[in-house]
């Protein structure tokens, strides 16, 4: 007899009494409640902004309070998903540590003494400072930096109308090397149809752990439901590695050797797509000649991946083509040769012919949006301070090269830059070698920051202009190209909680005071009305308000560029395996392998990464997200840890050539013995970011180094000493 039976026997006499009670408590609480008070419940479709992926969601609002953010399944990209960050957007809105009023610095920079002021005073102050610097140094004496946002266009327009050539964006801290590599090869940056691929190789990207995007979901879908193989190269056993079919702890910086050896195998064994190569590609003969030297046996030495595996992977990859992908994805530059590595991937993808095919690379489809037309400003007279033409002739002009720009500003070359306007960016945390960024801030006569939270950069600003969060403002309509292009709408779901403004109104306020009003003489509603005009429905704005997203039904479409007379947007009109543009600019027209610098004795290569519940350094102070990882730790393999006397959770000091930080060790077999790893986003200086103050800041450690072609910050070129404290 089981215990339950025993109890029944023992207390059988009381059954009658029990029956009376059990009935009464079976009425669900929710039902009792619902009958009493019915709160009006609004469902407002809008677009997430916790990272750059622009997932569609539905805000549940009761009595003017945001209760919940649900995914909006109408978006064919984000489908029915909302990640941890998306769900934690509520916390960003109701964060008590938000900047609630415009503020002007009263004490020393970084002292944290602020005066709360009205908008007029703050804008007058900023405009007067900018004008004074324009007077003294010319408009080029101002630097304008910003990151992707639906309202970034207004900030960038202001910088140009002001006459400054110096706007700098985040891509050289992000995906500049990939974009450039695919651009010079295909004339565009394609999307990867991971959902339909059968064979996926991923290196230099940690897609399942570091970033949740539609690609992440599609990858899981293809690897689990459609049995696609995932081959993953990473010095660290990440969550992507946990899900991969094969994981190789490749020696950092040698990915290109692996790719070149694959090219070698595929070409020498005639496994490339001959028809495709002859119809659409140029420079194949030179490529074939070039990769002869890169044998798998040679690559095995370089990469520490067995030659037989390189052979096999190359064969499997070409067999699976065109449903085979060497995945590019979104990521940073890791080495000084990062561009070449990405070029190698692009070439590899090209010669197996997986262009514009289901399960391969697909050029992005677009939905045309209208544009509010106004006569723009005159071009700036001065050249860019980072001297792009001279240093990085192929880099995107509007984005700039962040590290080179910092070097030049610090040197005052070719001219002084004395004002820095920053929108939605935290250079202190985002750029390697924090000490230099701090110097750069200190040498400015004026620093103005538009942000929603007191970032480390805002902490050193002269004036802070608080922006309303994405849940409190109306944004321009945004088109997101891709295999399934979408148009996205972001509308306010609650009234602004504090004395904050959308960036557009801040820009308008500044423009008025800088006598530039003629360029901002319109309303957000007018701007949006022009944008939605070409959409195919009768009342496009009403549609967007009701649905939050529009996606043309005819996608996905494959093969629209697959006709022999199609002209690729390259110099030759072909897919350039050998790049004319690179040759013209004085670079190697084919990817050449350079051995990475070796890890010095007694040191480790510092490798970086992040987890998908954080967006870079911007959400590590969100309490809901921070709770998953309240501080970062230094991953170190048990072997070196033993010899250094480091045990799990013991405090260690990590020192590079430019700085040192202290954080706890995490002794784990999930990393190579010659590397240590730390997560991005911690060790903040700003006391307002209380939760993210813990742990160590990677920005303090990483040394200044960049990819020679794209200018992207090379983040894995730093060696560190580790010692137990």
């Amino acid at each position: 007899m089981n215990r339950r039976g025993f109890l029944k026997m023992a207390t059988g006499g009381a059954v009658g009494a029990a029956l009376l009670q059990t009935e009464a408590c079976r009425v669900p609480l929710q039902q009792q409640k619902a009958a009493k008070d019915v709160v009006p419940r609004l469902e407002i479709p809008t677009t997430c902004d916790m990272c750059v992926n622009k997932c569609s969601m539905i805000a549940i609002v009761e009595k003017g309070v945001l209760k919940k953010l649900n995914p909006n399944p109408e978006n064919p990209k984000s489908k029915g998903m909302l990640c941890a960050r998306g769900n934690a957007g509520i916390q960003q809105l109701y964060d008590t540590a938000r900047i609630k009023h415009p503020m002007i610095r009263t004490g020393e920079r970084g002292e944290g003494k602020w005066k709360v002021v009205g908008w007029d005073e703050a804008l007058d102050f900023a405009a007067q400072k900018l004008s004074a610097i324009k007077e003294k140094y010319g408009p080029q004496g101002t630097l304008w930096s910003s990151s992707a946002s639906f309202q970034e266009v207004f900030f960038r327009n202001l910088s140009q109308a002001f006459g400054s050539p110096n706007s700098v964006r985040h891509p050289t801290l992000c995906l500049a090397s990939v974009n450039l590599a695919y651009s010079v090869t295909f004339g565009t940056v394609p999307s990867f149809d991971v959902q339909n691929a059968r064979y996926i190789i991923m290196s230099g990207a940690n897609r399942l752990e570091s970033f949740i995007t539609p690609d992440t979901m599609d990858l899981i879908d293809s690897t689990t439901e459609r049995k696609a193989r995932l081959i993953y190269l990473d010095p660290r056993f990440t969550k992507t590695a946990a899900k991969a079919d094969e994981w190789y702890p490749i020696k950092p910086g040698t990915d290109l050797a692996f790719i070149l050896a694959m090219l070698n195998v595929i070409i020498s064994e005639n496994r490339y797509n001959k028809e495709f190569v002859s119809t659409y590609c140029s420079g194949f003969e030179q490529l074939a000649e070039h990769v002869k030297q890169y044998t798998p046996d040679w690559a095995a030495e370089e990469t520490q991946i067995p030659a037989k595996d390189i052979f096999r992977i190359a064969r499997e990859f070409s067999d699976a083509a065109p449903r085979a992908i060497y995945y590019a994805g979104r990521r940073s530059s890791w080495s000084r040769d990062d561009f070449s590595m990405r070029r190698g991937q692009a070439i590899l993808n090209a010669i197996v012919g997986n262009w514009d095919r289901q399960g391969g690379m697909v050029p992005n489809a677009k939905v045309e949006l209208g544009e509010l037309m106004f006569l723009p400003w005159d071009d700036p007279v001065a050249p860019r301070v980072d001297e792009l033409d001279k240093n990085f002739p192929l880099a995107a002009k509007g984005d700039g090269v962040y590290l080179k720009l910092r070097e030049n500003v610090l040197a005052g070359q070719p001219y002084p830059v004395k004002a820095w306007m920053i929108y939605k960016q935290d250079p202190m945390s985002a750029i390697p070698e924090q000490e230099k960024t701090l110097q750069m801030l200190r040498q400015m006569d004026f620093v103005g920051v538009i942000d929603i939270q007191m970032s480390d950069t805002a902490w050193y600003a002269d004036v802070i202009l608080p922006e309303s969060t994405y849940l409190e403002r109306l944004d321009p309509v945004e088109m997101l190209g891709g295999i399934r292009p979408v148009v996205l709408y972001r509308q306010p779901v609650v009234k602004p909680l504090h004395d904050t403004k959308p960036a557009f109104e801040i820009v308008q306020g500044l423009a008025k005071r800088l006598n530039l009003s003629q360029y901002f003489d319109y309303t957000m509603e007018q701007w949006i009305a022009e944008q939605v005009k070409p959409l195919p429905m009768d009342l496009p704005l009403d549609y967007m308000k009701k649905h939050g997203v529009y996606s043309p039904p005819q996608y996905p479409k494959y093969g629209s560029t697959l006709s022999p007379d199609h002209r690729f947007v390259t110099k030759s009109g072909k897919i350039e395996l050998l790049s004319e543009r690179l040759r013209e600019a004085g670079y190697d027209p084919l990817p050449v392998y350079h051995q990475p610098s070796q890890v010095p004795e007694g040191k480790f290569r510092l490798v970086l990464g992040r987890h998908a519940f954080f967006t870079h350094a911007s959400t590590s102070n969100n309490p809901w997200l921070n709770s998953f990882s309240p501080e970062n730790a230094l991953w170190i393999h048990p072997k070196p840890a033993d010899s250094l006397g480091i045990t799990d959770a013991s405090l260690v000091e990590v020192a590079s050539g430019v700085g040192s930080v202290r954080l706890k060790a995490r002794v784990t077999p999930k990393i190579r013995t010659d590397c240590v790893f730390m997560q991005h986003g911690y060790g903040k200086r700003s006391p307002w970011l209380r939760l993210a103050n813990s742990g160590g800041s990677d920005a303090q450690l990483i040394e200044t180094a960049w990819d020679t072609v794209s200018g992207g910050a090379a983040l894995h070129e730093t060696f560190v000493k580790v010692r137990k404290v």
Partner: protein, 122 residues
């Protein structure tokens, strides 16, 4: 004969005129090819969209025209010829030379063989 002479005279005038025009034309491409990249691209886009795009869109009589219709060299030579509607009317009918220069800059910079460095946040 008279009429022939007249014709010849006229032809001569025409020839001189055409020579002068050709010379002028020769000057124009020289100046535009140099200034092709020196105009104001943003303004050029504005003029292109405001003026050209009123007819050159899908379904309108001009047919769709985007920067990607031509290569950089083709755009340059098109503007050098300065003729519109299969060479029947001058481009200057629609824009000032300065505006044309801006428009060329825009089209040149986004031509089908132009570098297309893409960015993030699109």
């Amino acid at each position: 004969m008279k009429s022939f002479r007249k014709l010849g005279k006229n032809l001569g005038v025409l020839a001189v005129a055409s020579l002068v025009f050709a010379g002028l034309l020769a000057l124009v491409p020289l100046s535009t090819s140099r200034a092709g990249q020196k105009g104001n691209e943003a303004k050029g886009k504005f003029y292109f969209k405001q003026t050209c795009k009123s007819c050159h869109i899908k379904g309108e009589k001009g047919g769709e025209v985007t920067p990607l219709n031509k290569t950089q060299a083709q755009w340059q030579s098109y503007f050098a010829k300065g003729k519109h509607m299969k060479g029947t009317e001058p481009l200057t009918k629609y824009m000032t030379p300065e505006q044309l220069n801006d428009a060329l800059t825009f089209l040149y910079n986004h031509a089908v063989d132009s570098p297309q460095p893409e960015t993030c946040g699109k």
